[in-house]
Symmetry: C2
C-alpha cells in the first residue's frame, strides 16, 4: 500500500490492519481507539503534560458538562459553537431544569471558577490545563483521529495581569509545540497567525500549527488563542493590581490535539509495510523472532531468553514472539505494527555468539555482540528515528513553495505544496480574495508565519493585485 | 479542626482550605478538582495503570456515549442503571435518531466491539482498561470525591476462555489493589465478597475493597465483578476453542475509584493542621522557608539557593517560599497543604553550615549537613510515610471487632467499628436479616472476607438465630 499514491486509502488501511482505530462502533464520528494506538497516545499525553509542567502549568479536572447559561455568556463564542453542541436534557426519568452541554471546549466552564479563584496580583499568572475529551457535533465528513465528534486533546487556560504577559504565553505555547511535536515526536509544522476570519470564536487572534500530510493537505494539530479580555469581562475575572485598581485579566488558551498529532505521526513515518513507531514511543521497542530449524527449539529459546533478560534488565520493552507462525509471517506482522527494532535468533547467531538487529525503516541488518545488545538496540532505535526525522523535515521544507500568480498557485497546490504568496490583508476586508482562493483553487489562506517580519517584495496581492501587506500561506486542508 | 470529633466538618474544611475541590461549580454533583488534588490523583492514576500494565493489561479509549439499544441488551444491567443515566437527545439543532447515554459504566459500549475483536483461542485472554470518567445521576446526597455524578475511575474489562481464568483475574485484581492502594498508598481495606443482593447489575458476584474512614463508616474504593457469561451471551462474545467448538467467553470487570481512593488517602493521613501528603505523591516534596532577620536577606537567599539546587539536581520537587509573608504564616500554609518536609533556613543554620529538616507529621526537627541534604530529605520522607502507615493500619486492625448479639453490634457500630458476625446466608434468602440490620442498626452487611475459609464457631446467625453458614461483616457506610 503506497501512502504517496493514495493516502486516503493507505490511512484507512493502516488504521484497520495495524489495529489502531475501530470505526465500527455504532455511533457516527465516535471511533474506538485501540490499545496499539492508545498506548502511544498516552505517552504523547505524558510528554506534553511534562513539558507544560516544566513551563509552570498545573493539571486540573473540570466537569464535562456546562450549563447552557454559562455557554451563552460570550456572544461570539456561543455563535461559533451552537451548532456543535450535544445537549443533555434528561437524567434518569427526570427532565433537567437547565439543559447541559457536553463541553465542546471549556472556556465557559472554567472562567466562572477563575473569577472565584483570582483576587489579587499574587494569584497571577494562573496557568492550568486539563487533559481529556471534548465533543463536537461535526457535520462535515468524519475521518478517524482527524475529524471526529469526540476529540482527545489537552487544553490550557492561562490568565495574566497584562496583555504582554498573555502575548509571551503565545510564544511559550509555540515553543512547547516545537519541543514536543517538532523535536521529540519529529512532526514538522508551520506555525501561523490565522486570518481574522478564521479565528476561534471569542478570540482576538488565533495561532496554529499546521503539518503538511503526505497527500498535500495541511492538518491543524495545535492552536493557541489570544482571548484578550473578551471572556474576562463577561465572566468577571478580575484582580486588584498593585496600584490598587481592579482590572480584568488577559487570557490565552491552547489546545494541542492528541489524536491529530498521533495521526500526523503515523502518516509521516508510515510506509508501504505499515507504521514505523519511534523507538521512544513504541509500545514494544524490540521484537525477538526465533528461527527454528529442525530440532533446535530448546537451544534457540534458551539463547533468546538470554537476550530478553538483558533487554528487560535495561528497561527496554521487548517481546518474544514464539507463536506458531512462520518467521516471514511474524516479520510482516511486526513491520505492519511498526516495532522499530527486530532481533532474529537462529542457529548461526548462536554459534557465533552474536545478535542480529534489523531496522524497521531500511530493513538493514546489523550484527552485534550479546554483551552490548541493550546499548546497541537503543542506539539503533535513536539513530533510526534521527535518520527518518531528517527525511521527514527535508520533505516538509521541499514542499513549501512560493508564487505570485493564480494559475501557478493552482498547479503547485496540485503537487501537494504549501504556497507563500503576497496577500492584501488578513483582516476581514481580505475576505474576497479568500473566497477566490476557496472557490477557484479549493484551498485556504492558512495565515501569516508567526514571528516573521518579512514583507512582500512584490507589492501586489497575488489574487486581487491590490497592495500586498504580508505574505500569506495557501494550502489545501482537511 | 479535629477529624476524629467531626469528620464531616473536617472533610468539608480540608477540601476548601487546602484548595482540593471546589463545590461552587453550577451543576449539582459536579465539583471541580483543583490542581493541588488533581496533580496527586494523576500520580495515583499512573501508579495504578503501571501496575495494570505489569499484569498484562493494555490501555484503550472508548467513546463516552452509548446508544440506548446497546444499554438495553442485558436486562439486569439496564434495570440497575436506568435511573442513573444522563441522556443526550439533541445535537446542535437536530434531534438524534437514537438517544445516547453518557456512559454510567462501559460494558455495553465495549462488549459489542469485543465480539468483533475476539475470534480464536489465541485472542484470549484479552485484558484491557480505560481511565477516565463515568457519569451517574446520583439521587442520594452528594459529597465531593465520594458520591458525585461525575466519577473518576479506571475500568478494566477482561475476557477468558474458562471460568477458572476469570476467577484467577478476581484474585489478581485483589492483589493489584493490595499493592497500589495498600502498600504504595498506605490505605488499609478489607476485601469482601458482597452479598447476592448487593452485586453489580448483571454480575454473578461482586467483590469490593472497603476502607474504614475516620468517622467509622466504610467507603467502597474498588470493586471487581465476575460477569460469568451474562454479557458474552447477549453481546455474542464468542471464540472457537482448541476443540473446534464455539464458546462464549468468561468475563470480569474491575473498577478502582480514583477520586474515592484520593478521598481515603487525605482522610487517613490528614490531621488537625491539614493534609499530610505522602512523600512519593506530593506535588511539592519539600518547601524551603527563609527566616529573614535584619539585613541578612541576600545571605539567606544565597544559602537557600544552594539547597534548592542540590534538591533539584536530585529530582526532588522543591519550592522556595520567599513570599512576603511571615515564617509562621508560611508554616501554617504548607502544613495545611500537606507538604511532607520543610526546610528552615536561618542565620544559625548558615553559620553552622547545617540544614534543618522538619517532619510534617510530628513537626520534629532534624539537623543535617548540606552535602547530604538530598539523601536525608528523601530518607526522612520515606521514614515518615512508613511511620504514619503503621499507625493507620494499626488503627484499622483495632477497628475490627466481633459480636454475636444485636445490641452489642449496635454499640460497637456506634464506636465506629466493623463487626464480624455469624450470619445465616449471603444469598437472597438472607435478606430479612439484612433488612433488620439496615432498619435497627442503620448498617449494612458488607459481605464475607474474600478468600477466607473460616466457618462460624457459633452455629447461630447473630440476627435470626437460624443456622449460620459464614462470617459476615457489618458496618455503617457512605
Amino acid at each position: 500500500m503506497d501512502k504517496n499514491k493514495d493516502f486516503s486509502e493507505w490511512y484507512t488501511w493502516i488504521l484497520k490492519e495495524a489495529e489502531l482505530v475501530d470505526i465500527r462502533y455504532n455511533v457516527k464520528g465516535f471511533p474506538v481507539i485501540r490499545p496499539w494506538a492508545f498506548s502511544v497516545m498516552k505517552k504523547i499525553y505524558s510528554a506534553y503534560e511534562d513539558e507544560l509542567d516544566r513551563n509552570g502549568h498545573s493539571p486540573m479536572q473540570f466537569p464535562a458538562v456546562i450549563p447552557e447559561s454559562n455557554l451563552n455568556k460570550e456572544k461570539e463564542h456561543i455563535k461559533g459553537f451552537e451548532d456543535a453542541v450535544f445537549w443533555i436534557e434528561k437524567a434518569g426519568m427526570n427532565r433537567l431544569e437547565e439543559r447541559l452541554a457536553l463541553r465542546p471546549t471549556s472556556e465557559t466552564a472554567i472562567y466562572p471558577m477563575y473569577a472565584l479563584w483570582i483576587n489579587g496580583i499574587s494569584d497571577l499568572p494562573l496557568k492550568l490545563y486539563q487533559s481529556g475529551t471534548v465533543w463536537r457535533y461535526e457535520t462535515k465528513a468524519t475521518r478517524p483521529l482527524i475529524r471526529v465528534r469526540e476529540i482527545q486533546w489537552i487544553e490550557t487556560h492561562c490568565c495574566f495581569a497584562t496583555k504582554e504577559g498573555a502575548e509571551a504565553q503565545i510564544i511559550e505555547d509555540k515553543a512547547i509545540a516545537e519541543t514536543i511535536i517538532g523535536d521529540v515526536l519529529g512532526i514538522p509544522f508551520l506555525f501561523f497567525q490565522r486570518p481574522k476570519w478564521d479565528k476561534f470564536p471569542g478570540a482576538d487572534n488565533t495561532y496554529a500549527a499546521d503539518s503538511l500530510m503526505p497527500d498535500g493537505k495541511v492538518l491543524q494539530i495545535a492552536t493557541t488563542h489570544m482571548l484578550g479580555q473578551n471572556f474576562s469581562k463577561p465572566f468577571e475575572v478580575k484582580f486588584s493590581d498593585s496600584d490598587g485598581k481592579e482590572k480584568y485579566v488577559w487570557q490565552t488558551c491552547y489546545g494541542p490535539g492528541m489524536s491529530r498529532i498521533f495521526a500526523a505521526l503515523i502518516s509521516h513515518y508510515g510506509d508501504d509495510k505499515g507504521i514505523v513507531y519511534h523507538y521512544q514511543f513504541s509500545p514494544i521497542q524490540v521484537v525477538v523472532v526465533p528461527i527454528y530449524k529442525g530440532e533446535n527449539k530448546a537451544k534457540i529459546d534458551n539463547y533468546a531468553a538470554g537476550i530478553m533478560r538483558v533487554l528487560k534488565e535495561n528497561d527496554i520493552r521487548a517481546y518474544y514472539d514464539n507463536s506458531n507462525n512462520t518467521p516471514g509471517f511474524k516479520y510482516n506482522r511486526w513491520e505492519l505494527k511498526g516495532i522499530p527494532i527486530r532481533i532474529e535468533v537462529g542457529e548461526r547467531e548462536i554459534d557465533a555468539n552474536k545478535v542480529v538487529i534489523v531496522y524497521r525503516d531500511t530493513r538493514e541488518k546489523k550484527t552485534t555482540e550479546l554483551e552490548s545488545v541493550a546499548n546497541d538496540v537503543s542506539q539503533a532505535g535513536k539513530e533510526m528515528f534521527e535518520r527518518m526525522k531528517s527525511a521527514v523535515f527535508e520533505n516538509m521544507r521541499n514542499s513549501i513553495d512560493k508564487s505570485e500568480d493564480m494559475d501557478d498557485i493552482g498547479k503547485k497546490l496540485d503537487l501537494g505544496k504549501i504556497i507563500k504568496i503576497p496577500f492584501c490583508s488578513m483582516e476581514m476586508e481580505g475576505e474576497p480574495c479568500y473566497e477566490q482562493i476557496k472557490d477557484k483553487l479549493k484551498a485556504e489562506v492558512r495565515g501569516t508565519l508567526f514571528g516573521s517580519e518579512e514583507k512582500p517584495k512584490s507589492k501586489k496581492c497575488a489574487i486581487c493585485g491590490k497592495e500586498a501587506h504580508e505574505y500569506a500561506y495557501v494550502a489545501r486542508q482537511y
